[in-house]
C-alpha cells in the first residue's frame, strides 16, 4: 500500500491509497482523478495517462522504457520527469509519491 498525491494544474491535491502491484494510472482511475484519461486502458498504447513525477521521486520511479519513450512522443509538453502513469507500478517504496497531472492530455 502506498499513498499517492495527484496534483492538478491549478494546485489542487488529492491523496489516494494505492494497493501494491497496481499501476499509478489504475490508482488514478479508481479514485476518479481528473486529467488521467488512459484511453487505451493501460496498454502503453495512447499516452493519455501522461504525468510529471515530482523531482523528489523521479529517481525512485525510474526512467521510461524504450516503448514508453516512443509512446511519450504522442504526449503533449513532455518534460524530463514525464512518465506514462500506466507504466509505473506501485510498490511500498513509492509510499508518498507525488505526481502532477499535465494541463492537457491529447
Amino acid at each position: 500500500m502506498a499513498k499517492i498525491t495527484f496534483v492538478q494544474p491549478d494546485g489542487t491535491e488529492a491523496v489516494v491509497d494505492a494497493a501494491t502491484g497496481i499501476t499509478v494510472m489504475e490508482a488514478a482511475k479508481l479514485n476518479l482523478i481528473d486529467g488521467v484519461d488512459a484511453e487505451c486502458g493501460g496498454a502503453c498504447a495512447c499516452a493519455t495517462c501522461h504525468v510529471y513525477v515530482d523531482d523528489a521521486w523521479s529517481e525512485r520511479t525510474g526512467k521510461p522504457s524504450e516503448m514508453e519513450e516512443d509512446m511519450l512522443d504522442f504526449a503533449f509538453d513532455v518534460r524530463e520527469t514525464s512518465r506514462l502513469s500506466c507504466q509505473i507500478r506501485v510498490t511500498d517504496e513509492l509510499d508518498g509519491l507525488v505526481v502532477r497531472v499535465p494541463e492537457k492530455q491529447f
Binding site: 487505451c40 519513450e69 512522443d73 504522442f74 494541463e103 491529447f106
Partner: protein, 360 residues
C-alpha cells in the same frame, strides 16, 4: 476448402448486386474490430451477407491499431492471444462468408429510405443500400490527434494538416513537420524536394520511424537541404487561418521562432465518436443505448454491438461483444427473411451450417 462463394445459395449472389454504383447488401457493418468481424460470422450462419467498412486501412480495430503485439488473456479457450493473432483468427473464421471490406473509409451519412433500407455514404463517396446496419465502431472512429495548441482550429485545412492528400499542395511552401514516427519521417523525405524549406521538429533526437527513412532524413540534414530541430511547439502565430510562424521550445537554445506557412503534426490517432452522433440515434455519453435481447438501437434495423453500446450491466469486453453479435443476428434475420422460420442449430451437428462453413 472449396470456394466459399459457391456455398452461398444462388439467391444471395443475386441480392448482393450494385444498382447505379450503389452497393446493395443485407447487412452493413460499421467497424472491422473483433465484434464487427464476428458479426460477419453470426450473420453468415443465417444466410445474411455483409459489407464491412472501417476507417483504418486494415481490419482488427483497436486490436490491430493499438495493441497488435499485446497479449489478451480473457478470450474464452484462448489462454493468451495477441491483438493481431485474434484478428487473424477471426479473419480466417469468417472467410467462408466472403464479406467485402471497404477500408480507410469513414461512414459519414446514414438515412432511412421509404422502403426501410438505409442509404449510407462514406467519406470516399461509396454508397450503400442496406437492409440492416450494425454499428460495431468501438471507441468511435480513429482520427488524428490535434496538438492542444491555442487557436490551432483556426489554421486547420488552410495551414495545418493532419494528412497529405495531394503533395503538390505543399510545393514552394515553408513546411514544418512535427513528430518522430513513420508518418512524420515519410512525409519529411517525400515533401522535402517540393518544399521551399522544411523543418522537422521532434521532442528528442531518437525516432521510432523505420531506420532507413531516418537515415534518409539525416542525410538531407547533413546536405543542408532541411533542418532538424529538437524541441516542442508551444505557440502558433498568424492571422485569418494563415500560419506565419511557430514558437518552438528547444532544449539548447531556449525559445526559437520559425517562419512557416504549413504545419503537419503527426501525433498518432485517437478515437472520437464522430458522425455516429448525427444519425438520429439516441446517444448517451458517446455510447449508443441498446436493448439486451436484440442489441437494437432506438432506431429499428440499426444495431449496436461491442464497446460502442451501453445497457445495464454492460462490460466492455470482447467476449461480451461476441455474444451481442449472436443475438443481434437473430433479429437481423427476422428483418431480412420475414417469412423464414428461424431454426436454432449447432455448428457441431447441423449439416446445413457445416455446408455454409464449407466443412462438409
Amino acid at each position: 476448402m472449396s470456394e466459399p462463394k459457391t456455398q452461398l445459395p444462388a439467391t444471395d449472389a443475386e441480392r448482393i448486386g450494385t444498382n447505379g454504383g450503389v452497393i446493395e447488401t443485407d447487412a452493413l457493418i460499421i467497424g472491422a474490430g473483433p465484434c464487427g468481424l464476428f458479426a460477419v460470422f453470426e450473420l453468415g450462419l443465417l444466410d445474411i451477407s455483409c459489407h464491412v467498412i472501417d476507417i483504418l486501412d486494415k481490419p482488427g480495430g483497436q486490436c490491430a491499431e493499438l495493441y497488435p503485439e499485446k497479449p489478451i488473456y480473457d478470450i474464452p479457450a484462448l489462454p493468451v492471444v495477441t491483438g493481431q493473432e485474434l484478428t487473424d483468427r477471426l479473419m480466417e473464421q469468417i472467410k467462408p462468408f466472403n464479406p467485402t471490406f471497404h477500408l480507410a473509409e469513414r461512414v459519414d451519412e446514414l438515412q432511412r429510405q421509404a422502403d426501410d433500407r438505409f442509404a449510407v455514404t462514406t467519406d470516399a463517396g461509396t454508397q450503400f443500400l442496406a437492409k440492416v446496419v450494425v454499428i460495431a465502431a468501438g471507441g468511435g472512429s480513429f482520427t488524428p490527434k490535434r496538438p492542444p495548441l491555442d487557436g490551432i482550429e483556426a489554421f486547420e485545412k488552410s495551414s495545418v494538416f493532419y494528412a497529405v492528400r495531394r503533395m503538390e499542395q505543399f510545393a514552394g511552401k515553408d513546411i514544418v513537420i512535427v513528430g518522430g514516427g513513420d508518418s512524420a519521417l515519410d512525409w519529411t523525405v517525400n515533401l522535402q524536394p517540393l518544399a521551399k524549406s522544411l523543418t522537422l521538429i521532434h521532442r528528442r533526437d531518437d525516432f521510432r520511424a523505420a531506420p532507413h527513412t531516418v537515415e534518409q532524413m539525416r542525410a538531407l540534414v547533413a546536405d543542408g537541404k532541411m533542418s532538424l530541430m529538437i524541441g516542442q511547439v508551444t505557440t502558433l502565430h498568424g492571422a485569418d487561418g494563415q500560419l506565419s510562424a511557430i514558437t518552438v521550445r528547444t532544449k539548447d537554445q531556449g525559445e526559437v521562432q520559425i517562419a512557416c506557412n504549413a504545419m503537419l503534426p503527426f501525433f498518432g490517432l485517437t478515437m472520437k465518436l464522430g458522425p455516429v452522433a448525427d444519425w438520429g440515434l439516441n446517444v448517451r455519453e458517446n455510447l449508443v443505448p441498446v436493448d439486451t435481447e436484440k442489441f437494437e438501437t432506438s432506431e429499428s434495423r440499426i444495431f449496436a454491438i461491442g464497446d460502442i453500446n451501453t445497457y445495464p450491466g454492460k462490460l466492455k469486453l470482447i467476449l461480451s461483444g461476441f455474444h451481442e453479435a449472436a443475438l443481434m443476428a437473430q433479429q437481423a434475420h427476422r428483418y431480412i427473411y420475414p417469412d423464414r422460420k428461424l431454426l436454432f442449430q449447432y455448428t457441431t451437428s447441423s449439416s446445413s451450417l457445416q455446408k455454409k462453413l464449407g466443412v462438409q
